[in-house]
């Protein structure tokens, strides 16, 4: 602990006092009174003083104050208090006691004002510093293995979907969640994946200073996501230069980050190589991997401070390949072989500037290109390709597919401070997407120019009442349609640390690319209406959040049983209530959070014959995340336990005129316990973090759903390729002490 005593050498002071005593013999006037707020409630801690003089006092818990002054004649008494406008009163200092009441009016104050937080988890917000999920949290969530999406899954609203990547939020499918970096959307946020195995996100958590996970009702600045937005804000110039290296059971990495002497610019790069051969040789995998997952990636960045802002550039290139065989579900002697190679290049350039006089600008430009080369084959016992079986359900599994998607974006947002602390934001963006898919030599192309304009205003009526009113308009050339989406939210401070909010918003999303490629002319936007109510009680080290929501889906995409074409024939709803409690206070050094989500949802989409609970929606989901850092041994221990009730599964068959349910059921409940430990030490001159992590500690065998054979007689559970995943690694850095993050709690 820091201990500072306040004793000084004070010889000189006594001299001074002796001198000053001589002057203090004049006549005194007693001044007393009370400081109150607009509603006449007493204000404690207001400073009351004679204007331009030293005499004064601080108001007590009943708002009262009392002091004497040697000032003469007519004087002003001034009361000041943080967050309030000053108030003055006249007093006559001629010896007679004076009594005054000073009424202070509240100032609109960014720090005190209520914010509309319903529907989102803000993290890394410097202003409030009461973060819910920081990038350090992502690293120290047991079993998340430093994957942003995996850590977000411990928050309310997200489903425990383990067989594919993406965030399934509040009854929404994975494609209904979009990720944004510095304002622009990320087209392919996950590494390439194979069926029934979830892949990791492409981006490292330490690239970002803040993460907002919005489970609905998000700002008009963002669009094209029916359910959820993950809004990531990249870091500015780091504190110090560093060289880093990682040696782990899964990947090797090296990087450099250089900051100029004046700390007004920085640049850096990282290279990485991932290979799962060592892991797979130790942990038996159920599928037969003929190409063990390998990933090469490199990234580079520069950041330059401008007059009152910053320009940032980030580029990342990655290639990866996976190939695996599984037994064919229809025929005992056959196998399904699936191989994929992926190439991805992502670029983001952003400029943030404060022009003064209330004007700010955010410019985002991004370009990404992604290519998947997929080969799917039926193979026999000796891994030879088999064609022409005469059974379409087998022959259809033989295909070659090349998919290329390019996306260019520009987004400009102006931010204008209005009177008080109210703000108006407005701007426009353009997405130009170019997609080609070639299946067995047949090429499909889709070009889409999506233009959007938006405006939003944060209006503060008082410190206790705020509203966010926004509207977003979009036009897509691919479907030749526009949409207008209003958004509205209001927040009211019900107590010193408690806020109630209500939110309403309309959200539009274009159909997925593979739908548009075949039926663009017949398709229109999918739509969701969000209604939410939220209560947050937040103190420095504790957060309680309760949110109820209702979401109405319109025009979801359905598949025709007759010719396989697509239409906006679906709809649905989702409703539920969610609880979140985070506590770093009760047990010193222990940080934990508990979440519970109740979800009731049904929808008609894809080949669903009627409104059904979708296969990715569990009724009850709960998580417990516990983190404990033990300073004595410089080690942190992190546990995450997740639970979800069973999810529905169906076998839909096409009768030729309609889809019908041939079989259905609910999977068993899902349990997962993840654990990780991180030990901070020094190896040579390098600071080192040693990380060990295990997912699914209890070796539970989760079932995410079932695959059916063509005739429905064989049903195979969709499960993990191996129940457990182990990770061991050492992260070294020369320069910045990243472990400061963790060790400073022993200060």
């Amino acid at each position: 602990m820091f201990v500072l005593s306040k004793r000084n050498s004070m010889k000189n002071l006594f001299l001074l006092i002796a001198v000053s005593l001589g002057t203090a013999a004049a006549a005194q006037t007693k001044i007393s009174g009370k400081v109150v707020d607009q509603r006449n409630r007493p204000l404690q801690g207001a400073s009351v003083a004679i204007k331009n003089a030293y005499d004064g006092a601080v108001s007590d818990s009943t708002g009262k104050f009392r002091f004497k002054t040697t000032e003469k004649d007519t004087q002003y008494v001034v009361a000041t208090m943080m967050g309030y406008k000053d108030a003055e009163a006249l007093v006559i200092c001629k010896g007679a006691d004076q009594t005054v009441t000073l009424q202070l009016k509240e100032k609109l104050d960014e720090l005190k004002a209520v914010t509309v937080t319903a529907g989102s988890f803000e993290a890394g917000d410097k202003k409030r510093a009461a973060t819910v999920l920081s990038s350090l949290d992502v690293y120290t969530t047991g079993g998340a293995n430093a994957d942003i999406t995996a850590a977000i899954k411990t928050l309310p609203g997200a489903q425990q979907v383990g067989e594919q990547e993406g965030l399934f939020v509040r009854g929404g499918a994975g494609f209904e969640t979009k990720q944004f970096i510095d304002g622009t959307v990320v087209n392919n946020p996950f590494n390439a994946s194979v069926p029934n195995i979830a892949s990791r996100g492409r981006f490292q958590p330490n690239l970002f200073k803040g993460t907002v996970f919005s489970t609905g009702g998000y700002s008009a600045l963002y669009g094209q996501a029916l359910s959820s937005a993950v809004i990531l804000e990249s870091i500015d110039i780091p504190e110090k230069s560093e060289i880093s290296a990682s040696i782990t059971s899964v990947f090797l990495g090296a990087g450099l980050q250089k900051i100029t002497k004046k700390k007004n610019a920085s640049y850096g790069f990282n290279v990485g190589y991932t290979n799962l051969t060592p892991t797979f040789s130790l942990v038996k995998q159920t599928p037969d991997f003929f190409t063990i997952p390998v990933l090469q990636n490199g990234d580079a960045n520069f950041r330059i401070k401008t007059k009152r802002g910053i320009v940032k550039f980030y580029t990342q290139y990655a290639t990866n390949s996976i190939g695996l065989r599984r037994p064919n579900i229809d025929s005992a002697g056959l196998k399904d072989a699936f191989g994929i190679s992926n190439y991805n290049w992502y670029n983001n350039l952003s400029w943030r500037e404060n022009f003064g006089s209330g004007w700010k600008l955010n410019l985002g430009i991004s370009y990404s290109t992604n290519k998947d080369i997929i080969a799917s084959n039926i193979q026999n016992g000796s891994n030879q390709n088999v064609t022409g079986t005469g059974k379409p359900w087998l022959d259809n599994r033989n295909f070659d597919l090349t998919n290329q998607s390019d996306l260019s974006q520009i987004k400009l947002v102006f931010d204008k401070r209005l009177s008080g602390i109210s703000v108006l934001r407005f701007g426009a963006e353009n997405w130009y997407g170019y997609n080609t898919t070639t299946i067995n030599g047949t090429k499909f192309t889709l070009k889409d120019n999506l233009t959007a304009a938006f405006a939003e205003s944060d209006i503060y009526v008082t410190n206790n009442l705020a509203a966010k009113i926004g509207v977003r308009g979009e036009y897509s050339t691919a479907i030749a349609q526009g949409n207008i989406a209003p958004r509205l939210s209001m927040a009211y401070k019900v107590g010193k640390q408690s806020t109630m909010s209500v939110i309403y918003g309309q959200f539009f999303q274009s159909p997925e690319v593979n739908n548009l490629m075949r039926s663009a002319a017949n398709l229109g936007y999918m739509k969701a209406d969000h209604y939410m109510m939220n209560f947050i009680h937040q103190t420095t080290l504790q957060t309680l959040r309760v949110e109820a929501f209702h979401k109405q889906y319109h025009s979801l995409i359905t598949t025709s049983p007759i010719n396989g074409s697509f239409a906006n024939g679906g709809d649905g709803y989702a409703k539920g209530i969610e609880f979140f409690w985070r506590d770093k206070k009760t047990i010193s050094g222990l940080d934990y959070w508990v979440t519970y989500s109740y979800l009731n949802t049904e929808r008609t989409f894809n080949n669903y014959p009627s409104r059904l609970a979708p296969t990715f929606a569990a009724e009850h989901t709960a998580s417990l995340v516990v983190k404990k850092f033990i300073s004595k041994i410089n080690t942190g221990f992190n546990f995450t336990y997740s639970f979800a009730t069973g999810r529905p599964y169906y076998n839909f068959v096409n009768t030729g005129s309609q889809f019908a349910i041939a079989d259905q059921g609910v999977t068993k409940n899902f349990h997962n316990l993840g654990f990780s430990a991180n030990y901070l030490t020094k190896i040579g001159k390098a600071f080192a973090v040693v990380v060990a992590s295990v997912t699914n500690v209890t070796n539970a065998n989760p079932v995410f759903g079932y695959n059916y054979s063509h005739d429905g007689s064989n049903k195979v559970a969709v499960t993990l390729p191996a129940p457990r995943f182990y990770f061991l690694g050492v992260f070294l850095s020369w320069g910045v002490d990243r472990r400061q993050d963790a060790i400073n709690n022993n200060l």
Partner: protein, 212 residues
Amino acid sequence: MKKLMIISAFLLGTVATVFAQSEKYYGAMGANLAGMGNLKTVQDHVDLAAKFERIGDAEKTQWLPYYYAALLNSWAAFAAPNTEKDALGNKAKELVNKAQAIQNSSELYAVKYMASTAQMMVDPMTRWQVYGQEAQKALDEGFALDAKNPRLHYMQGQSLFNTPEAFGGGKAKAKASFEKAVALYNEEKPASPIAPTWGKEQAASMLEKCNK
């Protein structure tokens, strides 16, 4: 001649007023500084800080009243429970800004360092990135203004002392800072009777701890 006498009389009068004013200022500051010896509770700190702030508000051209008001708030932030650290830390920083608007001094950065460090301690794991760096930046900026300020060396020593050796801190490094601090305290010649002088004994006792 007569004119000259009038002018001199006028000048003398002005000087006398200025002198009286400064006598009042030094007197009030002295009385408050004497009060710094008997502070016990957080409230004591805050009350005395308010007295300094009133002097600052009245004087308008003196940075020291705001400096002491900020200093007391930053000390209070250390002593206060977690729930109150932010308000006191922010108050200290606000007062530092007021003082800087009048005159910048390396002394103000020692206060800024303490205010940020106190705020970081509320939740070091998540707050380090913001408040830890803010504190370090304050020390760096302070040293840039005056590398011979003993209080900044003392603060740096504290920071190193509380960081384990394996992580770039430790007694050995802290000792060097405390030694430097003590040497500078011994050389220190306060610019005025009300200039900051605190920290000498504490630095010496920390140095002793490092020698053990």
